[in-house]
């Protein structure tokens, strides 16, 4: 047990209870709390104040420290997450060690969770009493600084990762961009046009893609995944696994002679880039503008591989075609690379809702039911039909139904609004009408067009003769009731404006699928030590004030991995995340919270703490045979403190005397 550090003459506590406007004062009687605390031992001064975080509030605190020679400060207000930094700064400005300041969370722990004013006030008093006892035992602590690695890792090469990578590289930073797919570009590369300006998605994206590919400060690793992350802000060690493409990136020139000379004369395998609407060969380049312009071999279908093992069932005409370049290598193995970075940007994006979860819409049963992403490829000039709207049976559709909110705003599937579907549905309605001349029906619940030029785009569609029917579609069926419905897909919907059920026969159905977290978001979350919201998207540190930060310092998020958003918002967020990373890097160091563990004299050297430390921060001193904790590595998790059999590990800010007195304070009358 550490002896009472209060060998200074006298503990002089200043206590402040903050009204936080009505947030706290609406439920807790703040003046009563202040009056109660004034009578507690050691308290020299006790005040209630409207906004402690305001400049005058901080000024008041500093003035009091000086005038009343305070040596402890307690602020009872909101969460330390929000303002601990503020009040520690103010304390330090008054000439006191910032760790002699302590916060009580009256807002989240009392005001927001209770309605009974009397009981909430009593609880506030108990929490304040606990803080008074705790802070008495606080010691002055030093903040340590650690240098920051200037390199940045970006995970995910969609538009968010691409934009952030270019911003950082242009600012002179070394960037590693890791992408799981064989090419960067993400979902945006598959879109035809972008709303509301109808810019060609490829035209605005591909220059950025090739800039990433050629930038001297960007190391691009496609077909690769991050498999391990260790360390902490400023000093991460990351392992990247590169999957074998069976084509050497540095030797391939992208001439695609190998593709032309593959023993398969016809492309016959599912083309992932075109959502399976087109076909590709076993050796292929994902799409014309793919970055890097390097082919790859799909070992699942290449004749040279059978069950992933090299066989000799193929004449290897591709190798012959490649010739002296010798880029093709059937022996290529998985590669593991280790890099050191200081900051990480996670921009892993989204996946679209799996429409098979809603069998009533007939996807997979009726060939002419499409997902929106399929239609993006269908209307695209470089898509499988060259931009002509042709159904799977080769017919041209005379009528098309677009079903909104598939897998969005639905308690049975995903509850959230996916934000982009209304607008991309309108865009597809425009493009389908333009390309096919068909009658187009939109079935919507509400049309949400909150963006620059979005409402105007909707207005434009109204003048183009696109039909809008308000109602959630009940089912898509081939059950024909009238002769006109024979051979058609019938959309059954309650028209909630007209007040009756409609049956609309169409030739083609487009399901506007919502956005959801990637299937492996939980694994990614664990790897980067992030949190997820209830819906599974990565959680930002604060929805308004720290929208691209996570709860792990040095790890930032941007784009749809944090929640559904459109391209402009994604790019803005990616820029913000890059700027946050830049700010960290350019400061050059990170401050480390001094809440580290430390070994006391009675350590017997039993080593039981060694395997428990998740950060490998504990070693045994060969001379003293006692445990030693590396403060730079310790993250203050407390595992060793709790597990030490002899109780001989302490932790700054969480010392036994501080905690025991705090508990005694809560329980005291």
């Amino acid at each position: 047990m550490i002896a009472n550090p209060g060998n200074q003459p006298e503990v002089r506590i200043g206590f402040y209870v903050c009204h936080c406007g009505h947030n706290i004062a609406g439920v807790v009687d703040c003046p009563a709390v202040a009056a109660y605390v004034a009578g507690l031992p050691g308290v020299v001064l006790s005040r209630d104040y409207k906004y402690m975080c305001s400049d005058p509030g901080q000024e008041l605190l500093q003035q009091d420290v000086r005038e009343h020679r305070l040596n402890r400060v307690i602020v009872a207000s909101c969460s330390p997450l929000l303002h601990e930094h503020t009040f520690r700064q103010a304390t330090a400005a008054a000439g006191l060690n910032p760790f002699l300041c302590h916060m009580v969370n009256l807002r989240e722990h009392a005001a927001w969770v209770h309605t009974d004013r009397h009981a909430a006030t009593e609880k506030a008093k108990a929490l304040a009493r606990a803080a008074v006892r705790r802070v008495t035992w606080h010691r002055a602590l030093e903040v340590k600084r650690a240098p920051i690695h200037p390199q940045v890792l970006i995970v995910g090469g969609g538009i968010a990762g691409i934009h952030a990578a270019l911003v950082l590289a242009e600012a002179g930073k070394e960037v590693f961009l890791v992408e799981r797919e064989p090419s960067i570009g993400g979902h945006m590369a598959r879109f035809d046009k972008t709303f509301p300006t109808l810019d060609c998605a490829a035209c605005i994206l591909t220059p950025k893609m090739s800039a990433v590919g050629t930038h001297p400060r960007i190391t691009l690793w496609t077909y690769s995944e991050v498999t391990k992350v260790e360390g902490y802000v400023g000093n991460f060690t990351v392992t990247v696994t590169r999957k074998p493409r069976y084509v050497h990136e540095d030797r391939c020139t992208g001439c695609q002679e190998c593709v032309a000379h593959c023993v398969y004369k016809e492309a016959k395998f599912r083309d992932e880039f075109n959502e399976g609407l087109g076909k590709r060969k076993p050796i292929y380049i994902p799409f014309p503008q793919a970055t890097p312009q390097v082919t790859l071999i799909d070992p699942l279908v290449c004749l040279n591989f059978k069950k992933g093992v090299l066989t000799n069932r193929c004449k290897q005409t591709c190798v012959e075609a490649c010739g002296d370049r010798q880029a093709i290598d059937f022996q290529q193995q998985e590669e593991y690379l280790q890099i050191k970075v200081g900051t990480i940007l996670v921009t892993t994006g989204f996946q679209t809702f799996d429409v098979r979860r809603m069998p009533q819409y007939g996807y997979g049963t009726f060939p002419n039911v499409y997902t929106a992403l399929e239609v993006e490829r269908l209307v695209n000039a470089s898509g499988p039909t060259g931009g002509e709207v042709l159904l799977r049976d080769g017919r041209r559709p005379g009528a098309i139904g677009i079903v909104h909110c598939v897998g969005s705003r639905d308690k049975k599937t995903n509850r959230w609004c996916s934000r982009v579907c209304c607008m991309y549905s309108l865009k597809l309605a425009h493009l389908l009408k333009e390309h096919s001349g068909a009658e187009v029906y939109n079935f919507y619940i509400d049309l949400r067009t909150p963006g620059k030029g979005y409402e105007e785009f909707y207005d434009k569609l109204n003048t183009e003769g696109v039909h809008f029917i308000r109602g959630r579609v009940g089912e898509v069926t081939d059950w024909a009731v009238t002769p006109e419905e024979e051979g058609k897909l019938v959309i059954r919907v309650e028209d909630t404006l007209a007040g009756f059920v409609r049956r609309i026969p169409v030739d083609m159905v487009v399901l506007s699928t919502g956005l959801e977290p990637r299937h492996d978001a939980q694994a990614v979350r664990r790897m980067f030590n992030m949190s997820c919201g209830t819906e599974g998207f990565f959680l930002e540190r604060h929805p308004k004030l720290a929208p691209v930060s996570t709860f792990t310092d040095g790890v930032f998020i941007a784009g749809c991995c944090q929640g559904p958003r459109d391209i402009p918002d994604t790019v803005a967020q990616a820029g913000a995340a890059a700027a946050e990373a830049l700010a960290l890097i350019d400061r050059g160091y990170v401050e480390q919270e001094p809440n580290t563990a430390h070994v006391l004299d009675d350590c017997s050297g039993c080593k039981s703490c060694l395997p428990l430390c998740p950060y490998a921060a504990i070693t045994i001193d060969p001379v003293s045979r006692k445990a030693v904790i590396n403060e730079a590595l310790c993250k203050g998790c407390g595992t060793c403190v709790a597990s030490c059999p002899s109780g001989s590990i302490g932790q700054h800010l969480f010392e036994d005397d501080e905690l025991l007195n705090e508990i005694a304070g809560v329980l005291a009358e």
């Binding site: 069998p359 009533q360 089912e475 081939d478 059950w479």
Partner: protein
Amino acid sequence: MKFSYFPGCSLKGLGRAYEESLLPVMAHLGVELEELDDWNCCGATAYMAVDEAKACVLAARNLALAERSGMSQILAPCAACYLVLNKTKHYFHDYPAMQQTIGRALGAVGLSYRGATAVRHPLDVLINDVGLEAVKQKVERPLSGLKVATYYGCQLVRPYATFDDAWNPTTMDRLLVALGATIVPFPLKTKCCGGSLTGTVPKAGIRMVYILHREARKRGADCIATVCPLCQFNLDAYHAAVNSRYGRVVVPTVYFTQLMGLAFGLPENRLGLNRAAVRFAWRPPAPVPASRPVAAPPLAPV
């Protein structure tokens, strides 16, 4: 595998053919059914609509009896019984007030219910407990060439999709495919059969029956297979009214258990096939006598 068997009124009355086919089929598969002693009305349809509490109390008495008999699972073949028993279980667990009402009513007759009895439907048991492999092994006369429209009706999977999808149930499809039948795409799988409208507003009710028959016929079905006595009754008993109003569209309606009995080669006259108004004349092709096993030729030396 042993279940407390709750027949409900239908299986002893208009839906007798269901019981007559269910019992031998289940016995053939080694599923023991012990009829619940002193069972009463399940509380379905009219009761539920007029007074939910009374309906639940009626259903709960059956659940309590099953619990007292020491059986952990109750088998309810009728879709209406299945729904009401399930609904009562849900209400019992979700609404404390309902739990009290049920407790009081049962207490008055010296019964109690803890909420443990599982309510199962034969389709659920056949797919998940018996298993399609075991079913396949019992097939003597595959239903080759029989085209079936599978019709689940409204109550089996809604509102509680307990063992199958609410929008596109497939358990009966899979079962009948295992028996060798061909399933025709039938988009009206879960549409209303007319329910009691055939009695109260016959014009509307009979139109609904017609819609089902018309679609089944259009899809080339030889019969409609059902899991519900009320569906079977509506689709079968009103054949004359439907045919005279809309022309000859009616196809035979059978219980899925009757098709199982045929495939298992059980005596045809004991499957209740003669009870239907619209005769189902189709029979599986005669079994091919098993060919004698031929000894494999000796392997050539490598």
